[in-house]
């Protein structure tokens, strides 16, 4: 963990921060280095402050830390925003024509390198390339061969023509040469080793989108909302190549109802949204569940309530997903714990939805959705994807599920709670379904016995899933430790890295990371075996801690963060130590 480098570019929205950061992250990934990125951004198109941060190492990295080694500061505010993270070996690259280093009031020991980014960019063919000049300067400071930038520049600008690519390559070289010549005395401050490994670099939203296509999802309807829009943007242009389609609906009400319609027609179907959209979808969610329609609803959480802090991190929707909506109806809730798990859990969500004919919430959060992370490509092995469509029946199987009047029973009461499913076009399977309480045929009823039978049948599916599926947790740290740290969703990587920061005198810790919120693993034994238990989550009230207490009938400690900023490994290590002390 000590040979990691923490890099950032910051400026105003509209400065091309994200695309520049992505180019550098890709260059590192292509050079065989692991990368973990994070973004500070605001809900605005121009102005303000925005930054793209990259943590890189030859080893796996899965968290941000509270330290910045190289900073490209396009504005004064960029330095102000990051003062706490700068240290005596930090290098700040800036353009003296735009900002004076003295304006920054940076700590004295920080090295400022004035590089005429705009002028050099103009020499290469246009001022627009000033960020690329800065990347070249970074290569010189970090002893990172400039050729490593070339491939990602080709990937980014290839569509705009060969000369644009060449100009950008030249801009990078001018930046590197300038630093090498003007600041020869400084020498390279860091050294970025390269390896022969090939990594892929993707974020949680992209992993969800790729998982959906892999799982056979063919229909997506959604309404743009931060931070879930990337799922829709990923699928648009790709899902069509696999016979699918994306509809941009007029609102979230339409989105979930279109997805429901497609699912009733037999397609693997999904929508993705964030908290405000989940609120709007909750009425239809009840219909999806009571009509026993397989559907995947991805909720990429952001800070709430109401409009909240739309571009900030929070895990505040757990209660909503578990209990939201009037009446009582089972639903599954999956919370992938890493970017790669976003892929795997998406595939699983589609299978669970069809096997149990139930809506599945697949929840990520802003931090994981916009975080790009490197993996070996075989982490996403398409040959291992398995499709299970559950009790989908064809024409030959229909008669077994008809009553004496040849009417199909879509809500037949069965031992495992799962009924046969016939989609429109299947001869003999004609039936209706409804949000009204219904009988086996799907027709309205207020018969007391049938009501109880259908409610029990729907909950039987949960018991069946508990028996048949492996709803287990992931474990890290010291399995024999007296202290137990429990996490759900995206905090896993940060907690695992925090373990590295715990010293010999700090408490030993066992980490349990829970990707299944409902149905979920029973943690009674784990909690009772531990002397101290703490649940780490990004919300104010400890929604998962409440669940653990409810399940185990024992009080647990809590670490809650709800300022909108991601947990950082080093900070979290201190907090865990304090809480367990």
């Amino acid at each position: 963990m000590h040979d990691d480098l923490n890099w950032a570019i910051g400026g105003e929205a509209g400065d091309g921060i994200a695309s520049t950061g992505k180019i550098f992250a890709q260059a590192l990934s292509r050079a065989g280095r692991h990368v973990f990125t994070s973004k500070d951004f605001a809900s605005r198109i121009r102005g303000g402050y925005t930054a793209y941060k990259v943590r890189t190492s030859v080893d796996q990295v899965q968290s941000v830390v509270d330290r910045l080694d190289i900073l490209i500061a396009l504005t004064e505010r960029t330095v102000d925003e990051n003062l706490d993270e700068l240290h005596e070996n930090s290098v700040v690259i800036y353009d003296g024509d735009r900002t004076e280093f003295s304006d920054f009031e940076a700590p004295g020991e920080v090295t400022g390198l004035d590089v005429p980014l705009k002028d050099l960019a103009e020499d290469a063919g246009g001022a627009i390339m000033r960020n690329i000049v800065a990347l070249g300067a970074v290569c010189a400071v970090a002893d990172f061969p400039i050729e490593n930038l070339d491939e990602s520049l080709e990937k980014r600008f290839g569509g705009k023509g060969e000369s644009i690519v060449e100009n950008n390559k030249q801009a990078a070289r001018l930046g590197a040469e300038y630093v090498e010549e003007e600041y020869a005395d400084e020498g390279p401050r860091y050294s970025l080793e390269t390896t022969d490994e090939d990594y892929v670099l993707l974020n949680g939203d992209e992993a969800i989108g790729m998982g959906a296509i892999a799982a056979g999802c063919r229909f997506y309807a959604g309404y743009p909302i931060t931070p879930a829009t990337d799922v829709m943007e990923y699928l648009t242009g790709r899902i069509e190549q696999f016979g699918g389609h994306v509809v941009q609906a007029e609102d979230e009400l339409a989105a979930i109802n279109m997805a429901l319609g497609a699912a009733r027609a037999g397609a693997r179907s999904m929508t993705a949204t964030s908290g405000p959209g989940i609120d709007l979808m909750s009425e239809t969610f009840g219909l999806v569940a009571t009509s026993e329609t397989p559907l995947v609803v991805a909720n990429v959480m952001r800070s709430g309530p109401s409009t909240g802090m739309p571009t900030k991190q929070e895990q505040g929707d757990l209660n909503m997903m578990l209990k939201g909506g009037h009446g009582e109806i089972p639903r599954f809730v999956l919370a992938p714990t890493s970017v790669a798990e976003c892929f795997h859990k998406t595939v699983e969500a589609f299978n669970l939805a069809e096997k149990y004919q139930i809506p599945v919430y697949l929840t990520a959060d802003l931090s994981m959705a916009v975080t790009e992370r490197t993996y070996a490509p075989d982490e996403f092995d398409m040959d291992e994807v398995e499709i299970d469509r559950g009790k989908l029946v064809d024409e030959d199987e229909i008669s077994a599920w008809q009553n004496e009047n040849d009417q199909f029973k879509p809500h037949a009461v069965t031992a495992d709670g799962v009924s046969p499913r016939a989609v429109p076009g299947t001869e003999g399977g004609v039936h209706m379904s409804t949000g009204l309480e219904h009988d086996e045929l799907g027709r309205r009823t207020e018969d007391t016995d049938v009501r109880v039978e259908q409610v029990d049948k729907r909950y039987q599916k949960v018991d069946t899933a508990r028996e048949r599926e492996d709803f287990d947790y992931r474990e890290f740290g010291d399995g024999d430790a007296d202290n137990l740290v429990i996490s759900w969703g995206s905090n896993e990587g940060t907690i695992v890295e925090a373990l590295d920061y715990l010293g010999e005198d700090d408490p030993d810790v066992r980490v349990v990371s829970v990707p299944y919120i409902y149905p979920r693993p029973d943690l009674t034994d784990e909690v009772q075996a531990a002397d101290q238990v703490v649940v780490v989550e990004a919300n104010a009230t400890g929604q998962f801690a409440d669940i653990v207490e409810h399940d185990v009938l024992e009080r647990v400690g809590r670490i809650n963060k709800y300022d909108g900023v991601d947990f950082k490994a080093d900070e979290l290590a201190d907090e865990i130590t304090e809480t367990l002390a």
Binding site: S29, Y199, V200, L201, L202, E206, M210, I213, A214, A215, G216, R218, R238, Q241, F242, G243, G244, H245, V247, A249, E250, D251, L253, A254, N257, M258, A259, L260, G261, A262, R264, A265, G266, A267, R268, S269, E283, T284, L287, P377, F380, M382, D383, V385, I387, N405, V423, P424, G425, T426, E427, G429, V430, H431, M432, S433, T434, G435, R443, R444
Partner: protein, 289 residues
Amino acid sequence: MSSENVRFTDFKSDKQPTWCPGCGDFGTMNGMMKALAETGNSPDDTFVVAGIGCSGKIGTYMRSYALHGVHGRALPVGTGAKLANPNLEVMVAGGDGDGYSIGAGHFIHAVRRNVDITYVVMDNRIYGLTKGQASPTSRPDFETSTSPDGPKQPPVNPLALAMAAGGSFIAQSFSSDALRHQEIVEEAIEHDGFSLVNTFSPCVTFNDVDTYDYFRDSLVDLSEDDDYDRHDYDQAKDAILDADKEYMGVLYQDEDSTPYHEAHGVTENMAEIPDGAPDGATDLVREFY
């Protein structure tokens, strides 16, 4: 089931409607069933979507694949079903409250999206199932339990909304004129794009103004007007915005409009997928290098 042998009674379920005796919805539904059979559809390949209200019960009384959904969202459900399996005949039914009040937003966008579905709105100008409140198509002076002096707002003109949204098939029918209603729904089914049929479907219990007699006496059947050309946008506009008369028939049709499936190349039945990840999925991973 071979479609040649389909009779309209095949679209009838064994459930007896609980609509009030004399309700316009009987006629509206009969015409829909006859039109479906007459256009060669079978219950196995038909998907009927309904929302909430008296109209919402139609899926129970008809025999086909059907979903009775939440209030106002029937059109998005029908849209999703049709796009997922273009081989299905998708018919969406609703009332004036379901379609023009709580579902008005979806109505506009369904029209402009131009997905090849048929939307039959049973317009009785009243909320019947909740026992008589003003609907978006109620007259400004129509006295109800929630509007003792009338709603004092102009009623929604659904045909005008559809026209403004670029509608390609805009029609109006009357449940009691069984033959014309059936003909119009048949034309709507055969139209390649989104079809609106606003069907006057009188409520005999709560609306004593917009009655069978009123519609019988006042509706002008455009099929009897040799000078009326449904393809003439300006003529259609004048008829739709006519404050003095109400019309029956296909008021406007644009047979050259591009339906959604053509514009977006959505033609496959999405229900059929392979047992594993689709061919070419590994290319998606390579993109992230």
